[in-house]
């Protein structure tokens, strides 16, 4: 936006034509050309027109090496018959694997399962996160300390959460099951049915990540200007109206942001599922990420898993665009 205008490049080009500069060239027979072109190159590179490019270059290079190159590699593989475990060289396959994946009912089933888990978990995260943010919005003694208690779950590893929640659900030893048995007389076998197992996963995941949503919402809440609340109070707005017209608009964008990040992350949910249910009972809680893991790493159907991943990427990109569309609309409104 605010580009400073300097034209060092042209100024220095003038300079190099001065006698002093040409002297320099004749003085030394070996390095001057290199030295000069080096310096020119340097000046070219760091000229203001290229400042933006220079600033982002390290990041782009790093992302290219560490993310984009491997992605392109696997993208390429998705068009070949290839098994990572096999010594046979890849053979061209065209869109074979895309067709295969898109027509595979198993993939659609796994996507459906994933969607169910994502929908429930993200919804729960939004609700819990929002409720807790409202709770912490006001100032009260020990607010800092209590807030830390609530933030802790997201600092735990997936392994820790998975393993301990599985223990909580365990019918004999699990504290949840024992609590249930105390009231209902029989142990809780939550993981025995599809929906029980889905809820088991959703509870663990939502517990872990609601604090994330809470932080974002809280940031929105504390930025609502006081005068709006005062105005709402003067206008004798009901709690709900105040929430809808004053609070929510300030939080909506952040809520959408949380929604996007959590949807993308939950879409990839793997460890918690793998540890708590291993996809069971049967395959009823097997998410798409678990499925990709199996296909890629246990079955070594490298091409198929690559093709599948790219379809997933497409789905996520669509979701993201949708999200960005909403965010942009919001920014225009304000």
């Amino acid at each position: 936006m605010n580009k400073p205008v300097t034209n060092v490049a042209s100024a220095s080009a003038d300079l190099s034509r001065t006698p002093a500069a040409s002297n320099n060239v004749t003085d030394n027979t070996i390095t001057p050309a290199g030295g000069k072109s080096m310096r020119d190159f340097w000046q070219w590179m760091f000229s203001p027109e290229r400042r933006g490019a220079m600033l982002v270059a390290p990041a782009l290079i790093m992302l290219f090496l560490m993310n984009i190159f491997p992605l392109m590699w696997s993208f390429g593989l998705s068009f070949f018959h290839y098994k990572a475990s096999s010594i046979r060289p890849p053979r061209f396959a065209g869109f074979y694997y895309y067709e295969k994946v898109l027509t595979d009912p198993v993939v659609w089933e796994r996507l459906q399962t994933t969607a169910q888990i994502v929908a429930l978990s993200v919804l729960l995260q939004m609700v819990i996160g929002f409720a807790m943010a409202l709770m912490f919005e006001k100032k009260f003694p020990f607010r800092r300390e209590l807030l830390m208690l609530v933030l802790t779950p997201m600092m735990l590893s997936f392994v820790a959460v998975g393993v301990f929640f599985k223990l909580f659900y365990e019918p004999t030893f699990g504290i949840l099951s024992q609590g249930y048995a105390y009231f209902f007389g029989e142990p809780l076998t939550l993981l025995a049915t599809k929906w029980g197992a889905i809820w088991a996963i959703v509870i663990a995941d939502a517990w872990m990540w609601s604090p994330f949503v809470m932080l974002l919402v809280l940031a929105g809440l504390v930025s609502v200007p006081d005068y709006l609340y005062e105005a709402a109070a003067v206008d004798r707005a009901s709690w709900w109206r105040r929430f809808k017209t004053v609070t929510f608009p300030y939080v909506r964008g952040l809520l959408l942001l949380a929604l996007l990040f959590r949807t993308i992350e939950t879409f990839k949910i793997f460890d918690v599922v793998y540890i708590i249910t291993a996809g069971g009972p049967g395959t009823s809680t097997e998410t798409i990420a678990v499925y990709v893991y199996k296909v890629a790493f246990q079955f070594f159907k490298t091409s198929q898993s690559s093709a599948l991943s790219y379809i997933l990427l497409f789905v996520v990109i669509v979701l993201t665009n949708l999200y960005l569309y909403f965010v942009n609309r919001r920014n225009e409104e304000i």
């Binding site: 475990s85 004999t172 993981l191 996809g279 395959t283």
Partner: protein, 476 residues
């Protein structure tokens, strides 16, 4: 090999390595490092510790064995990633028996026939290794004469039971009164125990909280029997295969490739009967059985914490059960043969699925490294080391060691282990094993959690395997 942070990075490391190689050739005793991938648990830690303390290479080289201890839950992931990516990091690998086909066909595991043929010591070791181990741990194609590995930790399943309950006079009498048979206590009584008695045990020891149990009362709901019924890894196939084989059913037999079929074999009447038998017995197990999560660790926990009277589990998991730090009944747990199916002749069939891990060599090493690795194999398979291993929680693979008069008394489960070896078979070793295993576990789980009948599950398994193996060219 220490990985230190090096500012100049890979380049310096490369030059440094070249420099080392040059200096190394100048002295006679070479530094040779054998990196070995292994799961992080007792049997491999023992190998490392024992090696560090006692191993001296005969060649005079300075041989170091460096274990990469990888947590069990992620062991396969780590090894598979390393091998298939061409990382070439490991010179030796502790493998699971099922994997070897995958990595042999991938060109990662070294065929040992030519080394065995050239070395009488190795020949003697192969001869002395129990045939069940050779078959399961060394051969590919399965049961062929191509050898690839040696037993690192051979494992079998056996019955773990609570002496204080099974040998309790009052309980014994009550059992007799109710079921007419003997509540097994001694080794001989357990040897005569079939699945019918096992079911009676399950029914007999089903006590509610507060009921009388042994000398006291049950502090919690108490159950009679449990065996593995878990969705993860192979935590149900290993037990279900036993039932299928004992009932005369079969799994797809890769030794008869390409004639062997899956449909009509995997789902034949005997197999279905065997699977149904397995399912029927689950009703006497703790409630976790209903969730399809009753894996080998859960049943271990159940007996250690006093929630169940008897289980069937691997010997490899037995040491903690005798450790009072982990087990509430460390003093009361004993081991016996697994129950089996009594035939018309009155004999008990005990076919079961073998466990444990072989270790193998990789293909990308210099001859020198390979020879040193084989020296380590010979050292490990030597009777003294094997005996010491058995004394420290392991099991020997050598028949000569197992035949020693004191072997059975080294650990309380050894007698059963040795006797059961003749009943061991293994699942498939073909590279498709993971797909077959995974799909089978899913279908078994559906039957365990009541979504399918035994027949439906086995039909689905047979069809899947038939299609998969036909596509792979293994069934014609």
């Amino acid at each position: 090999m220490k990985h230190k942070l090096n500012i100049l990075g890979a380049l310096t490391a490369g030059i440094f390595a070249t420099g080392l190689a040059v200096t190394a050739t100048e002295v006679s005793a070479k530094d040779i490092v054998i990196n070995m991938a292994g799961p992080d648990w007792g049997p491999t830690r023992f190998l490392q510790e024992k090696f560090n303390k006692t191993y001296k290479a005969k060649s005079g080289n300075n041989v170091k064995l460096v274990f990469d201890f990888i947590p069990w839950p992620n062991f396969y992931d780590r090894v598979a990633a390393s091998l298939t990516s061409g990382e070439k990091k490991y010179q030796m690998v502790v493998s699971d028996s099922q994997w070897i086909g995958t990595f042999i066909e991938g060109g990662h595991f070294l065929k040992l026939n030519k080394y065995i043929d050239a070395d009488p010591t190795l020949q003697a070791i192969m001869k002395d290794t129990h045939p069940a181990f050779v078959e399961a741990y060394a051969t590919y194609p399965h049961k062929s004469k191509n050898y690839y590995g040696f037993p690192q930790f051979p494992d079998t399943k056996m019955t773990w039971f609570r002496k204080d309950l099974f040998c309790h006079a009052g309980e014994k009498a009550a059992f007799k009164a109710k079921f007419g048979g003997t509540l097994p206590c001694t080794y001989a009584e357990w040897k005569d125990t079939d699945w019918k008695t096992w079911a009676s045990i399950g029914e007999f020891f089903r006590r509610n909280k507060g009921d009388k149990l042994g000398d006291g009362v049950a502090a919690d709901d108490f159950y009679g029997i449990a065996y593995q019924a878990g969705k993860g890894l192979d935590f149900s196939s290993m037990q279900i295969n036993a039932f299928i084989w004992q009932h005369g059913g079969s799994i797809w037999d890769e030794a008869n490739e390409p004639k062997a079929q899956a449909v009509g074999v995997v789902n034949n009447a005997a197999s279905v009967k065997g699977f149904q038998h397995y399912l029927d017995l689950l009703k006497w197990s703790p409630p976790v059985a209903k969730t399809g999560q009753m894996d080998i660790f859960v049943i271990q926990e159940l007996i250690m914490q006093g929630k169940v009277a008897a289980i069937i589990n691997w010997a490899g998991l037995a040491p903690p059960a005798l450790d009072p730090k982990n087990s509430k009944h460390a003093k009361q747990i004993d081991f016996a043969l697994t129950p089996g199916l009594r035939g018309k002749d009155g004999k008990i069939s005990r076919w079961d699925n073998i466990g444990g891990q072989p270790f193998v060599l990789t293909t990308w090493n210099s001859d020198e490294v390979t020879m040193e690795a084989l020296e380590i194999v010979k050292w490990w398979m030597s009777p003294e080391v094997q005996l010491d291993f058995a004394k420290n929680g392991g099991e020997s693979g050598l028949m000569s060691v197992m035949a020693r008069s004191d072997y059975n008394s080294i650990r309380p489960w050894n007698r059963a282990h040795v006797e059961l070896l003749d009943w061991q078979k293994d699942v498939w070793h073909v590279p498709e094993f993971f797909e077959m295993l995974t799909q089978q576990q899913e279908e078994f789980d559906k039957a365990i959690t009541g979504q399918k009948t035994a027949k439906q599950a086995l039909d689905a398994i047979a069809k899947f395997q038939q299609d998969l193996l036909t596509e792979a060219g293994r069934i014609q």
